[in-house]
């Protein structure tokens, strides 16, 4: 197993893990932080940590949720550090970028709906947004998300339910449209 080789100090094995997971790690970090430069630093740090903590990795568990756990934790802490500095500017830029509803060159309904959804995802609390990212973007199962975040499966399910309801609300409020009638129970 590659992690066992990393544990023995094999840098090539770490390189193989890097090739296998770099895009997933980078994509997740970018989705959480919205900052590709920060994601680059996180990508580096994730693999340095994999190397440093390979000893503590439980080999009975799958590797992927573990690397997601490191990625999410780093993305959280780096984002929180940066957040207070950039929040003000980010909000100002978003307000300038947002298309006006009275704009005659208004985008199509479907495109607008997607934009609304994107903003609604960004507006979710971090703890819910990350669940959405891991579940929908990365395709992790509820159990894998739970392991990656270190929370019970029930918590993941309730966060998914809450986040999905919020997103549905955000779209229906703005569009007045009818969306799915799906009952989302994750049982």
């Amino acid at each position: 197993m590659l992690v066992a080789r990393v544990r023995d100090g094999d840098i090539d094995a770490l390189g193989e893990l890097y090739e296998r997971y770099k895009t997933k790690v980078y994509r997740t970090a970018t989705a959480i932080t919205h900052d590709e430069r920060m994601a680059e630093d996180i990508l580096q740090e994730v693999f340095l940590r994999v190397n440093r903590y390979a000893d503590s990795f439980d080999q009975t568990q799958p590797f992927e949720p573990w690397i997601y756990r490191i990625t999410v934790n780093l993305s959280y802490s780096w984002t929180n550090k940066a957040k207070r500095w950039v929040n003000f500017f980010q909000n100002a830029i978003e307000r300038l970028k947002a298309p006006s509803k009275r704009d005659p060159e208004r985008v199509t309904e479907s495109r607008e709906q997607r934009e609304l959804l994107r903003r609604a995802i960004d507006a979710l609390p971090d703890s819910h947004r990350v669940v959405i990212i891991l579940y929908y973007l990365e395709g992790l199962s509820v159990n894998e998300v739970a392991y990656a975040l270190g929370v019970p499966g029930g918590t993941v399910k309730s966060r998914l339910y809450y986040a999905r309801e919020k997103l549905k609300e955000a779209i229906t409020e703005e569009q007045g449209g009818v969306l799915s009638e799906v009952v989302y129970d994750f049982t």
Partner: protein, 117 residues
């Protein structure tokens, strides 16, 4: 309709499909730039060599302290028993290498011996 947890069925609903698609779109062209692995391996190699240097230094310093203790023991006319007790090497175990370490670490020794004496 009830959504279940299986990957096959969980993205059938239009809202789920749109959520996934919007998220994918936001990171669609995102790929890690080249050169990151080189930076990681460089940092690892630097860290390993720093650790080796530290561990060499510690090992050498221990030998130097032993040699210094022996030298003090030899020089003292009436060394305190505790001091002799602390000395890890007997006089017949002295080696040239120990004195070499003593030379190498001569700058650091006064600080340590100053605390010990």
């Amino acid at each position: 309709m009830t959504l279940r947890d299986e990957p096959q069925s969980r993205f059938e609903d239009p809202l789920d499909v749109t959520i996934r698609s919007v998220l994918r779109e936001s990171v669609d062209d995102v790929t890690p730039p080249a050169g990151i692995w080189e930076q990681i391996s460089e940092r690892l190699i630097r860290r390993v060599s720093m650790n080796m240097r530290r561990s060499d230094w510690r090992r050498g310093f221990r030998l130097a302290v032993s040699a210094a203790a022996l030298w003090l023991l030899d020089s003292a006319t009436d060394p305190p028993a505790e001091f002799a007790h602390c000395c890890p090497l007997r006089p017949d175990e002295r080696r040239e290498k120990d004195y070499l370490y003593l030379l190498i670490y001569q700058c650091d020794l006064p600080m340590l011996l100053g605390q010990a004496v």
